[in-house]
């Protein structure tokens, strides 16, 4: 009897305590550092391994400590965990002071209200809005609101092509989508297990990225100006068709590619010469070289658009991918955090870190230094500056990615198993994705 009484009391206390403290948006919550002389920084994995990332960042953090007297406690978090950890921090109020985020999460994280907006004072403290490349800066948060993140590393898609295979076939790197299709068809020979193009066909993030890019090329927009989902617009449907046709109609992709979902598999195939072309973000360089390809063996051009451009179409070659820096609103060391952001986005640090992390500089006047292939560097810089648009800057962005990415994966699988993928199939799949957006609140 007594035990029951005690348990009841414990339950009541525990429930009320949890309900009262659930959320932790109050001032009693603190970041895990204590004094104003330490910062906790959660970095994402950008290099060859978590441990290697620590080795790369350590001297820079030491430099920062020397300059400002602030010690930085570094944790490098792998991508499988990062979003969940950020979620935990947001929910509980216990988290780092500064953190890396995938820039596509910026608007969703902004909507939680747990991150510090960069108002004009803060922006001045980090060197001013003008120091950033405008397309990169635009990814910091929703339109019309003060951003809650600033760009750190820039990434864009490019079309990698195998120089030898192209030269042997007498082909030049494609400048229009039709040229790409022709080149890919010429270089596809299933009997020799060689294909014109390789895709990471099982990765829903890759699928949604290309749905966006090609949708924009065809004049579509995933969301209209009022924020309503317009996945089934002609432009989006045609864009998805352009991508899926690579597997289905053009048959320039090895059907087995639809099993690739981890990221490095497609670059791996490209490096081994199993495919002549690869559409990937510029950090594929690291993978290619790790797999034994030299930077002289491949070239990069912007992903081409159909020519002539369809109605309302834009010559979009990539979305603005990359990593942004955010500051937790609950941080006790806001000054130190701002100093740190300023430090990491300074020209000197950008130049140093862009190389091991194969990133593009997000500040004006930076030079692309992660590759010694000048043509490649120029191609990527050009894409970031003139041919890239951010993914929809809305709070439901991850829902968008999951639903559309999943739909396109399904269509790719359908094409890979030999079934025809018609426009109505695509429209139906995108309609379902659109309907599921209602779940995202």
């Amino acid at each position: 009897m007594k035990a029951r009484l005690i348990s009841t009391v414990v339950t009541v206390i525990a429930v009320s305590a949890t309900a009262a403290c659930g959320g932790g948006g109050t001032s009693t919550s603190s970041s895990s550092s204590g004094s104003s002389k330490t910062l906790t920084y959660w970095a994402s994995n950008q290099g060859t391994s978590l441990e290697n990332d620590k080795v790369v960042l350590a001297p820079e953090l030491a430099k920062f400590q020397q300059q400002t007297g602030v010690k930085v406690n570094l944790q490098v978090i792998g991508w499988p965990d990062l979003l969940n950890k950020i979620l935990g921090a947001t929910t509980s109020g216990q988290g780092p002071d500064v953190l890396n985020i995938g820039n596509t999460w910026a608007a969703s994280l902004q909507a939680t209200g747990a991150f510090m907006p960069f108002d004009s004072t803060a922006l001045t403290a980090i060197g001013g809005q003008d120091k950033f490349v405008p397309t990169a800066f635009a990814t910091g948060g929703a339109l019309g609101k003060a951003p809650t993140s600033v760009p750190l590393y820039g990434l864009v898609y490019g079309l990698y092509y195998n120089k030898k295979m192209f030269a042997d076939a007498g082909l030049k790197p494609p400048t229009t989508w039709q040229e790409l299709q022709a080149a890919a068809t010429k270089l596809t020979d299933p009997t020799k297990k060689q294909y014109g193009m390789v895709l990471e066909g099982g990765s829903y993030t890759e699928s949604v990225h290309f749905a966006f890019i090609f949708g924009r090329q065809n004049g579509g927009q995933p969301f209209d100006s009022s924020g309503k989902a317009t996945f089934t617009s002609d432009g989006m449907v045609n864009g998805v068709k352009q991508y899926v046709d690579l597997v289905g109609k053009d048959k320039v992709v090895n059907p087995s590619d639809v099993q690739y979902k981890n990221g490095p598999e497609a670059p791996g195939d490209f490096a081994k010469g199993k495919a002549a072309m690869l559409m990937s973000q510029n950090n594929a360089d690291n993978t290619l070289q790790a797999d034994g390809m030299k930077s002289t063996e491949y070239g990069v051009v912007p992903i081409p658009a159909p020519s002539p451009l369809p109605a309302a179409g834009k010559d979009v070659a990539s979305f603005v991918a990359g990593i942004n820096l955010s500051i937790f609103k609950n941080t006790k060391n806001q000054d130190a955090a701002l100093k740190f952001v300023n430090f990491m986005t300074s020209p000197a640090e950008q130049a140093i870190l862009d190389k091991p992390f194969t990133a593009l500089p997000v500040i004006k006047g930076g030079t692309v230094n992660f590759t010694d292939n000048l043509a490649e560097a120029n191609a990527f810089a050009q894409v970031l500056a003139t041919k890239a648009e951010p993914l929809p800057l809305i709070p439901a962005e991850s829902a968008f990615e999951t639903n559309v990415g999943n739909a396109v994966n399904g269509l790719l699988a359908q094409a890979a198993t030999g079934k025809d993928v018609s426009t109505s199939d695509i429209k139906a799949a995108l309609q379902q994705a659109q309907d599921q957006m209602a779940a995202a609140g």
């Binding site: 029951r4 525990a14 305590a17 949890t18 403290c21 659930g22 932790g24 009693t28 919550s29 994995n45 950008q46 290099g47 060859t48 391994s49 978590l50 441990e51 290697n52 944790q75 490098v76 978090i77 792998g78 991508w79 499988p80 965990d81 969940n84 950890k85 979620l87 935990g88 929910t91 509980s92 109020g93 216990q94 981890n262 990221g263 490095p264 598999e265 791996g268 081994k272 950090n283 690291n286 993978t287 790790a290 797999d291 034994g292």
Partner: protein
């Protein structure tokens, strides 16, 4: 015992069939651990073209494997020890005493097995954060202690139910004989009943250990760099640049070796049957 032909044939079929089912993936793991990275997803081969032991060396530096291994061991062993102990107490109560609240207790304990982990993951996380706030120091948030407490509770329900079944199979005369000899409750439990239930206790201990050893969802949320366990640590071999499959395989084989050796050692205890002489 005479075994008819049909049974012997059945044994051969079962052993060969299940043996193959078990061994073939193990074989793939071992050969993958011996391949250079480029070959792992390359063309299929029964034997690697260039066998190498590099993955076994690199795996320690790509990821702090030693630290993860120690964390997993500490957490799993501690959680198992406490879980089995607490389960023994509770199972003994359930099996031997008809007390009021016995049914609700067993029912509630069973019901907790139906709670989907994702439902109470965030609330539990919040509770730990709040406990630490009340205490003023880090006790359960992102620590091994927090993980131990969580895991030992996870394995309780099944352990209690299983042990209660095993204990039910042990005749009460054993208890009575012990009391006649002068033992009180705990004495009866530990000196007489438990030794007779040893296979059950060992099976449950194995289960508790493996539950802690392999748990992923809560480990990913409740640990930080310093306290991370193997189950999610292994996922860090998948990086931005490459997925080091060969190192994943090598690491998995190496960290499983102690567990398998323990199994080899323990399985003979599982065979110790109920000593028929104990009642007399």
């Amino acid at each position: 015992m005479h075994e008819p032909r049909s049974f012997r044939l059945f044994r051969v079929v079962v052993v060969v069939g299940l043996g193959l089912f078990t061994i073939v993936p193990l074989y793939v793991m071992v050969t993958s651990a011996l391949k250079p990275l480029g070959d792992v997803q390359g063309d299929f081969r029964w034997w690697p073209s260039h066998p190498t032991f590099r993955p076994f060396i690199d795996m320690w530096s790509t990821v702090p494997l030693a630290r993860y291994f120690v964390n997993s061991l500490v957490v799993s062993v501690t959680a198992t020890a406490f879980s089995v102990l607490i389960a023994i107490f509770a199972a003994y109560a359930v099996s031997r005493y008809r007390f009021m609240g016995r049914r609700p207790f067993t029912g509630a304990v069973l019901a907790t097995q139906m709670f989907p982990g994702i439902l109470f993951l965030l609330p539990l996380f919040l509770i730990f954060v709040n406990i630490d706030k009340q205490l003023g120091f880090t006790f359960v948030y992102q620590t091994r202690v927090g993980l131990i407490v969580t895991y030992l509770t996870f394995s309780l329900p099944f352990s209690i139910w299983m042990l209660a079944s095993y204990l039910d199979g042990i005749p009460r005369e054993l208890d009575e004989a012990a009391r006649v000899d002068g033992c009180r409750t705990l004495g009866t439990l530990f000196r007489v009943v438990l030794p007779a239930a040893r296979p059950g206790v060992i099976a449950v201990a194995v289960y508790a250990f493996m539950t802690s050893w392999g748990e992923i969802l809560f480990a990913s949320q409740m640990t930080n760099d310093a306290t991370k366990t193997l189950s999610i640590g292994l996922q860090n071999y998948s990086t931005q640049i490459n997925v080091y499959w060969n190192q994943v395989m090598a690491a998995s084989l190496v960290v499983s070796l102690p567990v398998v050796i323990a199994f080899l050692f323990l399985q003979k205890y599982l065979v110790a049957g109920l000593t028929s002489g104990s009642v007399k």
